[in-house]
Structures are given as structure tokens and as C-alpha cells.
């Protein structure tokens, strides 16, 4: 168990002399607290797997250091770092039984037989694999195989962290929930640091206490799922988290007033001098934009399409040239929507102002 620190870490697959803007991982420093459940969230190719492989030691970083509890482990091999990793596709040793698979990491480390048996049966019980111990591992379903991969990490005492690289890719949707809650239970029971790479926001938000959102090789925001939802620090976080993503539209901001398509909207906070020359955008999640009957004082919009998601309905509207998504109040009758014209009601507290994609903090 360990606290993991990344110091000025950067990686380029083309060597250290490559143009820094092409780095797979742009320089970053951060600390992963012992016992935390982290998710590394981002689209494919954003550098999250690179970061994970650097922590596990599969990839050597071009620059920077990795510290486990203050000890520099950068030059150490994967094996000596004492971490466990679960890969996208289940890795099991085909010819071995489930029990032999779980015992393999301990056997390789010369752990006495009695101790191996005790650990294996304990971990099998935790993972609900006890009944399958004598079976050939390659006969089991994908989710059970993934549990074996995880189990091979858990059997070792004192693993510094368990890293997951999109572990649910090949798992049936119905079993994903089950396996994810199993992970959460294990996390609580074992006090382990877990780092979970995924591009699926639901997976990240349900698994982690802290979500690290990556975009184009850089970390754009680290925070709790609530913070990511309510205060996206970067427009990318706004788009990427939430479904549909945040509305980000160009606008102007002066003091306590924003203008979208020439229409004034009152804000909750005061924005002083915004950086000159910056691209100013207004971001508001569809959940905080309501559809109403057209009325003076409301931003008028044309409804293009309604998506009924069961629990909620979203309207896709057009304001001039801008496209936005808005919530349809549950009690609004269909014929009110059929006219095509609507007014938009904003919740002032939930409107964010972005300068060059980064959120600007207003004063109350």
C-alpha cells in the first residue's frame, strides 16, 4: 500500500527530443492518496493508458519521476514495483485451474505452500470463485476470467496499487454493474489504492471517489463526480461528462450579465475583467436550461427534436445559429412543444463562464 506521487512526468513515444506538443503525456505532477479509488477518464488516445503503464512500469517515462511512499521507483521493473494490473482482455493461464492461476504470483515469489493455500482460498471467497477453484480457468466466462486476473493481484500481500485498464470492455452489460459493485466492495474491504482507466463516464463516476479527466495528453480536471458535473473546469469536461454534454456557446460577459445571441441573461456572480483577446464561452448543462412557453424576457428558441430518455426528456433547440440542449419539464404537454417555438429558462447559479476553454471563477 502506498501513496503514489508523479513528479513532472511526461512521455513521448518518439523520444525526449520530440516537439512537446506531440507528447503522448504532457508534463504533469499529481499525488494519488493511499486507499483512494481513482478513475482516469478520457477519450481514446488521450494518454490515459500511457499514464497507467508508466505507473505500472510497463512504459518508462521520457521525463520525470514516480514515487511510491516517497521512494523513487522510476527505474524499477514492473515486478519489483509491487503493483497489480488488470488488462482490457482477461489474461489467464489457460492450462491452469482457477486455484493455480491465483497461486501463480505467490508461487513465483517463493511463498510457503501453506500460506499460498490460505491466501488463495481467502481471495477466492472474496471474489465468489471458491466453487470454481478446481476448474480449468479457460472454461469460465469472461467476467469470471476478469475476476481471476484481479484475484492474481489481490493474493499478493501489500500490493501498492491495483491498476485497471478498461477492465469491463469484454463483459456483458448486465454483468458490468455486478462486477463494478464487487470492485467497490473490495475497495472498501481491503483499503487498496485503485486506479481505473476508462472512457465510459458511467463506469468512472460510479467507481471512483476522484475522477481524473484527461484530454489530449493532459489532465484537465481532478475532482469528485459531483464537482465534475457541477463545475467543469474545462469545456472538454463539460462535453465529455453528462449526457447530453454541456451546452457551450459563444457569448459576452460583462459584470453580472451574460449575452447569448444578443439576449441578456442574469448571472449569480460578478465577473471582473476577463482576459482580453480570449475566446469567451458560456457553458450550462442541459439539466439547468428549461423549456418554457415563449415569453418576453426569455431567450427564444426553435425546438428541432425531442429525445425521450424515459426518466427525462431533452429538447434540441436552435437559437439563431447556435444549437443547444434543454430539459423539458415533466408536466409540459406535447402540444405545447409541437408549436416549435419556446423560451429558455436558465438557472443562474449553474451558468459557467469560460475563457479559452478554462473556467473563470466569478465573485459573489
Amino acid at each position: 500500500m502506498a501513496c503514489i506521487e508523479l513528479v513532472d512526468l511526461a512521455h513521448s513515444y518518439n523520444g525526449g527530443n520530440a516537439d512537446p506538443s506531440t507528447f503522448a503525456l504532457k508534463p504533469l505532477s499529481m499525488t494519488w492518496r493511499q486507499g483512494g479509488a481513482y478513475a482516469l477518464l478520457g477519450p481514446s488516445g488521450c494518454g490515459k493508458t500511457t499514464l497507467l503503464n508508466i505507473i505500472s512500469g510497463i512504459v518508462k517515462p521520457t521525463r520525470g519521476k514516480i514515487l511510491f511512499d516517497g521512494t523513487d521507483v522510476t527505474p524499477l521493473s514492473t515486478e519489483r514495483r509491487n503493483i497489480a494490473q488488470v488488462f482490457q482482455f482477461p489474461v489467464i493461464y489457460d492450462t491452469m485451474t482457477v486455484g493455480q492461476n491465483l497461486a501463480f504470483p505467490l508461487k513465483n515469489r517463493g511463498v510457503p505452500r501453506g500460506e499460498i493455500e490460505a491466501r488463495v482460498s481467502e481471495i477466492a471467497r472474496l471474489l465468489d470463485l471458491a466453487a470454481d477453484l478446481p476448474r480449468k480457468a479457460n472454461r469460465l466466462s469472461a467476467d469470471a476470467k476478469q475476476k481471476i486476473s484481479l484475484g492474481r493481484g489481490l493474493v499478493r500481500a501489500n500490493v501498492a496499487a491495483i491498476l485497471f485498464d478498461e477492465p469491463l470492455t469484454v463483459i456483458d452489460p448486465a454483468l458490468k454493474w455486478e462486477l463494478r459493485s464487487k470492485l467497490k466492495t473490495l475497495h472498501r474491504a481491503l483499503d487498496l489504492t485503485m486506479i481505473y482507466v476508462t472512457h465510459d463516464q458511467t463506469e468512472a463516476l460510479t467507481f471512483a471517489d476522484t475522477v481524473v479527466v484527461m484530454h489530449d495528453g493532459a489532465v484537465v480536471q481532478t475532482g469528485t463526480p459531483e464537482a465534475l458535473f457541477e463545475r467543469p473546469e474545462h469545456t472538454f469536461v463539460g462535453y465529455f461528462i453528462g449526457s447530453p454534454g454541456m451546452n457551450v456557446v459563444p457569448g459576452e460577459v460583462h459584470g453580472r450579465e451574460a449575452r447569448i445571441a444578443g439576449h441578456a441573461i442574469g448571472l449569480d456572480r460578478t465577473y471582473g475583467a476577463l482576459p482580453t483577446g480570449a475566446r469567451i464561452e458560456i457553458g450550462v448543462r442541459p439539466e439547468f436550461v428549461g423549456i418554457a412557453k415563449p415569453a418576453p424576457g426569455l431567450l427564444s428558441a426553435r425546438i428541432e427534436r425531442i429525445d425521450d430518455l424515459g426518466r427525462k426528456r431533452f429538447a434540441w433547440v436552435r437559437v439563431g445559429d447556435l444549437k443547444m440542449a434543454a430539459s423539458v419539464p415533466p408536466d409540459m404537454s406535447p402540444h405545447m412543444l409541437s408549436g416549435g417555438e419556446a423560451g429558455l429558462v436558465f438557472s443562474p447559479r449553474q451558468i459557467h463562464v469560460y475563457a479559452d476553454s478554462r473556467r473563470v471563477e466569478g465573485t459573489a
Binding site: 515486478e79 482490457q88 482482455f89 493461464y93 513465483n108 472454461r139
Partner: protein
């Protein structure tokens, strides 16, 4: 859903059926036909029933004696060749480069022996091993070894075995290399995280993942070595004495040398059946090896 019976479908099978009939079934039946008859030339044939088969399978008869001696010779040759080529092929495949220009280079070098016609391979080794002008034979002689494949049966066997290993280990290596390349990197990464030694990586990952290609390699090498003809015929002509007369050489002697079509046909059929049976046994054993055996009492579904 109701399935309609449509006999026109048979028409679609017909071309394939005709092809197989003319390429396999009809020639095979000709051989079966010969094997139950005797001939004295002049295209005169007499019914002999299973007489040739009885004689062939009776070790005390002249034909049976020759058959069993060359059969054991063949089995011994296949066993020796498999015991060398399979492990050697695996070792070669494991030591081949994984990336870069060296991959293409090593593949080309490995493929070279496979591209040489059999009789040329035989000629190369026939000359190579000669003690008067052959590089190998002459060098061994200079080293003080009494090597002469023309007069010494052991030397003749060693020459043929080494020649076969030289010719065919590449095939095993290439098949194993293909098997190794198909193992995802994650397996090696997981093994290194699990602290596996090089040997454990081989036994837990590489060997099991190569099982299928190894099965193909064993089958191909068994069939080929069991039916070997050209190379020993070119190098030793079956000698010295009869020490390298394999079944195929025996068969050619019977059919073309003595023109005993009936005996030769019976030998062909038995030869063919042996290859089929041994391959079937190999296949069954290797595909079932290491399968999950359910504990007694647990009902299978």
C-alpha cells in the same frame, strides 16, 4: 419455420463431388482393384481375394518380412525426426527477433530450405557428405572420424536425419513463430507483474498458446517423414544393404522394379491406412490433452 425440401440442391454439390471422385475416389478404387488381383503381365489379371493382404501382414512370409522391417524403420525415422525437429523448431522460434528489419531477414533465411525441391536437397547432401569431394565428408575424415554413408548404416542414418532436420526444422519454427506472434502483449506484461520466470512464461503462456500450431507441425512432419522417399533415395538409394529402405522405397521397388502390381497395391492401401490411423491418434490425443475433466458426480450438460 417450415423448411422446404428442394432436391435441386444436390446439383450444387455435384461439381465438388465430381472433383473429389476423379481426384481421389476413382484412383483409390483402382488401387483397391489391383490389390485383390494378381498379374503376370500382358494385361492379364487373376482374382486373388485378400491373399496379398494375408501375405503382407504375415511377418514370416517374404513380402511380410520386408514390409515389417521397413515399417519399423519408418516409425523409428519419424520418431527421431520429430524428437529433434519439434523442440529445435520451438527454440528457433523463441530466439527469433520480434520486430525490426531482422524479422524479415530471419524469415527469408528460414524459408530458404523449404523452397528447395526434394531431389535437389538430396543431391546437395549426397555431394556434401561424400568423403572424397564433399565438404562435410572430407572435413569429418580429416578430423579422424571414420565417416562414410555409403558403407556404414549408422552414418547413412545420421546423414538422412541431419538432412531432414536441415530441410524441415524451418517449417516447425515458422509455425511456432506465427503462434508466438499471436500472443497479446498483455500476457507478457501480466506474467512480469506476477513475477514469472522465463521458464514459467514458456510453460504457462507460450507453450499452451502454441498448442494448436504444434499440433499442425507434428501432423505435417509425421506425415511427411513417414512418407519420405526422394531424399534418401537420392542420397543412399536405400542402402547400404537395405538399412535406409523405407516403406516408400520398398513400394517403388515392388511396383516398378518387380512390377508386382497386386502386392504393391496391397502395400499402398495398408501404408495409407497406417498414416491415417497414426494421424487420427495424434490428433485425438493432442486435442484432448489437458482438457477439463469434471469431478465424478458432477453432472455434465
Amino acid at each position: 419455420m417450415e423448411k422446404t425440401v428442394n432436391h435441386k440442391a444436390w446439383l450444387l454439390v455435384l461439381p465438388a463431388f465430381l472433383l473429389v471422385a476423379f481426384s481421389a475416389i476413382i484412383p483409390l478404387m483402382t488401387v483397391v482393384n489391383y490389390s485383390v488381383q494378381d498379374t503376370f503381365g500382358n494385361n492379364q489379371f487373376f482374382w486373388n481375394g485378400v491373399g496379398w493382404y494375408q501375405e503382407l501382414l504375415d511377418p514370416s512370409s517374404e513380402l511380410g518380412g520386408r514390409f515389417f522391417v521397413s515399417l519399423w524403420r519408418n516409425l523409428a525415422f519419424s520418431a527421431i525426426v520429430l524428437a529433434i525437429e519439434i523442440p529445435l523448431g520451438i527454440v528457433v522460434a523463441l530466439s527469433m527477433p520480434r520486430e525490426g528489419w531482422a524479422v524479415a531477414a530471419s524469415l527469408v533465411i528460414l524459408a530458404l530450405p523449404l523452397l528447395i525441391p526434394w531431389n535437389v536437397v538430396g543431391t546437395i547432401w549426397q555431394i556434401f557428405g561424400r568423403s572424397d569431394i564433399g565438404l562435410l565428408g572430407f572435413a569429418l575424415g580429416k578430423l579422424g572420424l571414420d565417416y562414410n554413408y555409403v558403407s556404414n548404416p549408422i552414418d547413412a542414418w545420421m546423414t538422412i536425419v541431419v538432412m531432414d532436420v536441415w530441410h524441415w526444422t524451418s517449417l516447425v519454427a515458422l509455425l511456432c513463430y506465427a503462434g508466438l506472434k499471436s500472443i497479446p502483449d498483455a500476457f507478457y506484461q501480466a506474467a512480469s507483474i506476477d513475477g514469472a520466470s522465463r521458464w514459467a512464461v514458456f510453460t504457462a503462456i507460450q507453450l499452451p498458446k502454441m498448442k494448436r500450431v504444434l499440433l499442425i507441425a507434428v501432423l505435417l512432419r509425421f506425415m511427411d517423414s513417414f512418407m519420405i522417399y526422394t531424399e534418401p533415395f537420392v542420397v543412399t538409394g536405400g542402402g547400404p544393404g537395405n538399412s535406409t529402405t523405407f516403406l516408400s522405397i520398398e513400394l517403388v521397388k515392388l511396383a516398378l522394379g518387380q512390377f508386382d502390381l497386386g502386392k504393391a497395391a496391397a502395400l499402398s492401401i495398408v501404408y495409407n491406412l497406417i498414416v491415417l490411423i497414426v494421424c487420427w491418434v495424434f490428433y485425438t490425443v493432442m486435442t484432448n490433452a489437458g482438457e477439463d475433466r469434471r469431478p465424478a458426480g458432477e453432472g455434465g450438460s
